[in-house]
């Protein structure tokens, strides 16, 4: 029987600095590895530790994947110090991911915050591969400051895409910033979408997810059409270790993507 705890090996091919605290690692798995956008993996430094991350690359690229990682704790800071050719462990992918097929024919509104753009990049690249399947695709992205925006060089390329409308805002501006200033939730009014045939996808820090969800409900989205990327300290990834429970669900197994309909009656979902 397969050992569900055994990682496969991945080699870090490239390390890209996105911001002072965020780096993207290009990883080449040494065995067959595929994921669906929105699923997560457990990435480990052998003998040191393991943490959950969501790949940020196009799921249609099968021979390697990207993970964009914020230097936030013990494992992430050690990962930030790794150089190309470092060997890492990969378990997964875990969870359900975004149900792209159910989005067919619908407008899609994506709301992102901070490093939450990492998993959303994977989603965007997956959507870009089949744009004719959907109605309008609109993205609103907010970061704390211009320095906290990730994929700075990629965003202008995305903004050129046909049928894709992306606006970026920062909470606090500086002298380099010419764009919008204010919370991302302020950009969610008066959007040219048909709420009865649209879905929204939210990924970002818990406080931003909370207020974005409230705003989406206010502008007419139904709870079943709001998709949230939830996060806790997923460890096993298989619904066994018990760490990422939220109400009757495990985020690792039943999520990490949930509709607000699934979560709205649960307690303390934004903690």
């Amino acid at each position: 029987m397969e050992n569900i705890y055994q990682p496969i090996e991945g080699i870090i091919e490239e390390v890209i600095t996105e911001s002072p605290t965020i780096k993207t690692f290009v990883v080449r798995p040494q065995e067959k590895f595929e994921f669906r956008t929105g699923q997560f993996i457990e990435l480990s430094l052998p003998g040191i530790g393991e943490a959950p991350f969501t790949p940020s690359s196009d799921p249609n690229i099968k021979d390697k994947f990207d993970v964009t990682i914020m230097n936030a704790g013990k494992i992430t800071s050690l990962l930030h110090n790794t150089a190309p050719n470092t060997s890492v462990g990969i378990r997964g992918p875990y969870g359900m991911g975004y149900p792209l097929d159910t989005f067919q024919g619908k407008d899609i509104l994506i709301v992102g915050g901070g490093v939450g753009l990492a998993p959303l990049r994977s989603l965007l690249l997956a959507l870009f591969g089949r744009m004719s399947d959907f109605g309008k695709v609109i993205m609103r992205y907010g970061a704390r400051s211009p320095g906290d925006i990730i994929y700075k060089s990629l965003i202008p390329q995305w903004q050129q895409k046909k049928n894709f409308d992306m606006v970026v805002t920062v909470d606090r501006s500086d002298e380099t910033w010419k764009g919008n200033v204010g919370l991302v939730t302020a950009l969610l009014k008066g959007l040219p979408i048909n709420m009865n045939n649209a879905v929204s996808i939210v990924c970002g820090p818990p406080i931003m997810m909370k207020f974005a969800t409230l705003k989406l409900l206010e502008i007419g989205f139904k709870p079943k059409d709001i998709y949230l990327s939830m996060e806790k300290n997923m460890s096993c990834g298989l619904g066994k270790c018990g760490h990422c429970r939220i109400g009757k669900y495990y985020i690792c197994k039943d999520g990490p993507v949930f509709t607000y309909e699934q979560l709205k009656d649960l307690m303390d979902i934004w903690d």
Binding site: A72, N233, L238, H243, G247, K253, D271
Partner: protein
């Protein structure tokens, strides 16, 4: 298969034979601690621990009157275990040895239903648990007495097993009635058929009387504790989410995690990576939701930083998560968590207090 009878003197020989095929574990008497009962019940003070048959002197082989100190879970997922090592080194899954555990009680069998759901169900089968479970023969026995903390019957779990075992032993006169509960159990009694006699109807009805008397005695004790009915518990716990009870009862908690460790249904574990010489290992260790960092995420944010949230989490997991997923409360009423708690936190009392609070709130809202 019909009920069989095994005479006591044949039992020892049977164990000898069985131990050639299985690593046999048996209950032995252990140093017990007396717990005072709030209602004056004179508690049994003996304790039982499971020990390897090979090291137990013959005259110390006993039939345990009630459950052992530890639950069964360590037989299937040990407190700490290497579950993976370096890439490409397939060290295989341990657990080939056949193990027979005697002295199992119905509370422990119930807890295995929860453990089975976790480790055999869900997104994938845990191969470590699965192999050990498959290679373990569970021999349960009727309870002849109970501890002050025992409350299985309050949760409709009987002090004797009707299913979930491979073999069950009910002491009667100078021997045991033996029931077969699985193919694994059937193979054993067929292989050692010469040890067993068919049981008589008189023996079976005598056992029934013993069982009923024991249950009656237990229920007389439990009525004093006034534990809510199991159907009501999930609602009561959910309703008590913001209750002050969590904050009050946690005051004496020392965060030892004993309740989690001894609990037969608690299954949480942590995967960690470590170096062992030149080898990198992934190790699985039991975790406890009463520990500070149970829910901590990267960067230090902790959704359960307050102790009362962790106490409440334990109850929500048992009485909300599991009922919602498999329609079972993940509590077998063994009372181990009560017995082990240095802070005297008592699950019976908390459920009772939550029930009273919920009833008072109902009365208030309906005027």
């Amino acid at each position: 298969m019909n009920t069989l009878y095994l005479r006591e003197e044949r039992y020892f020989k049977f164990l000898d034979e069985l131990s050639r095929e299985y690593r046999v574990y048996l209950p032995v008497k252990a140093q017990g601690q007396a717990l005072a009962c709030a209602f004056g019940f004179k508690a049994a003070t003996a304790d039982y621990a499971l020990e390897k048959y090979s090291v137990v002197p013959k005259d110390e082989i006993i039939f345990n009157e009630y459950r052992t100190i530890d639950s069964l879970k360590s037989f299937f997922s040990p407190p700490k275990e290497k579950v993976a090592s370096d890439f490409g080194s397939s060290s295989g899954i341990p657990g080939d040895e056949k193990v027979a555990v005697f002295g199992v009680k119905n509370c422990d069998l119930f807890s295995l239903r929860i453990q089975d759901f976790v480790f055999l169900g869900g997104a994938a089968v845990d191969p470590f648990y699965e192999k050990r479970r498959r290679n373990t023969l569970l021999v349960s026995g009727d309870c002849l007495n109970f501890k002050e903390v025992c409350f299985c019957a309050a949760l409709d779990i009987m002090p004797y097993a009707l299913d979930g075992f491979d073999l069950n032993m009910s002491p009667l006169n100078a021997g045991f009635l033996v029931d077969v509960g699985s193919d694994k159990g059937r193979e054993v009694v067929e292989k050692y058929a010469s040890y067993f006699l068919p049981a008589t109807d008189t023996q079976i009805s005598a056992r029934q009387k013993k069982r009923e008397a024991m249950l009656k005695k237990l229920k007389e004790h439990l009525v004093l504790h006034n534990i809510p009915r199991k159907e009501e518990i999930p609602g009561i716990v959910r309703k008590g989410y913001d209750s002050a009870i969590w904050k009050e009862r946690i005051l004496t908690c020392v965060e030892c995690g004993g309740c989690n460790m001894l609990c037969g249904t608690c299954h949480c574990f942590l995967l960690s990576d470590k170096k062992s010489g030149n080898v990198n290992e992934k190790v699985r260790s039991w975790d406890a939701c009463l520990y500070l960092n149970f829910a901590r995420v990267a960067g230090g944010a902790n959704p359960m930083k307050n102790r009362y949230q962790r106490l409440r989490n334990r109850y929500l997991k048992k009485f909300d998560f599991f009922p919602a997923n498999i329609d079972l409360c993940a509590c077998c009423g063994c009372g181990r968590c009560i017995e082990v708690c240095p802070g005297k936190i008592d699950i019976r009392e908390i459920l009772n207090s939550l029930a009273k609070e919920a009833a008072a709130a109902n009365e208030y809202s309906t005027g």
